[in-house]
């Protein structure tokens, strides 16, 4: 069983999203039977959750600054992203996430989009770090 995992550790700055987009493109180059819709919803969810980390998860002013790790794995039936960051704990009820009431709100759609796009989204705080796990199953509606 070859190990096709892609793992990145980087500063939590918006510009690094470009690297993650390229990693996703390489993941699909190997998982080439996945269709466009599955690719889109997974990429969307990864960028939303990582975008939140970059935007909201300020670290306790650690010496080394805010950083994150991301691991991407695909097999024939699942694709999983695991994210970890050294930001503040997140107080969120993921089951209560919904689109904003105001149709013309300019923000507040990220987690609702991620939830709608994924088959599974989990958050845990472990050893002072935030851990997010994102999963899509092939061909499911999300």
């Amino acid at each position: 069983m070859t190990d096709g995992r892609l793992v990145l550790s980087a500063p939590a700055v918006p510009e690094v999203l470009e690297v993650v987009h390229t990693m996703l493109a390489q993941l699909w180059a190997r998982a080439d039977t996945w269709d466009q819709r599955d690719r889109t919803r997974f990429e969307l969810a990864v960028i939303e959750v990582l975008g939140n980390v970059v935007e909201h998860a300020y670290a306790h002013d650690t010496e080394s600054g805010r950083r994150f790790d991301i691991t991407l794995v695909a097999d024939d039936e699942h694709v999983v992203a695991s994210l970890a960051d050294n930001g503040l704990p997140v107080a969120l009820d993921l089951s209560g996430v919904a689109l904003p009431e105001d149709e013309l709100a300019e923000s507040g759609r990220g987690l609702a989009l991620a939830t709608a796009a994924l088959d599974d989204l989990r958050y845990e705080r472990v050893e002072g770090r935030n851990h997010w796990t994102l999963e899509c199953r092939r061909g499911s509606a999300g």
Partner: protein, 111 residues
């Protein structure tokens, strides 16, 4: 990486063409581009998304911000030619009515 082309047509309509991924980094640029257009008197704007390969909630936010300020100035913002990856995002957020996609940049303001 994104490139945003802007031009104003003879009929006064502003055409904005984001080429590449419309994520967090690009959304800031798009926000400025749209604010500048409306600020300088162009309140009818078509965003030609034929070459926008990716859209996330921050890109959506920039589009909605532009839509609101265009309408406040008496105009409108319309979306043309989104690719399937972008259409998916409009659908998942129920914005496919508010930002109804037109098939054509030229005629986006005909109705």
């Amino acid at each position: 990486m994104i490139e945003i082309d802007v031009h104003t047509r003879d009929d006064g309509i502003g055409v904005v063409v984001p080429r590449g991924r419309l994520n967090m980094v690009a959304a800031r640029q798009l926000k400025e581009v749209l604010a500048d257009l409306v600020g300088s008197g162009t309140s009818r704007i078509v965003v030609d998304m034929a070459e926008t390969t990716f859209l996330d909630s921050s890109g959506l936010g920039a589009l909605i911000g532009g839509l609101k300020s265009a309408r406040q100035a008496g105009g409108d913002l319309r979306i043309a030619r989104p690719v399937p990856a972008v259409t998916t995002v409009f659908e998942l957020t129920n914005l496919d009515r508010v930002l109804r996609a037109r098939d054509d940049v030229e005629t986006a303001f005909d109705d």
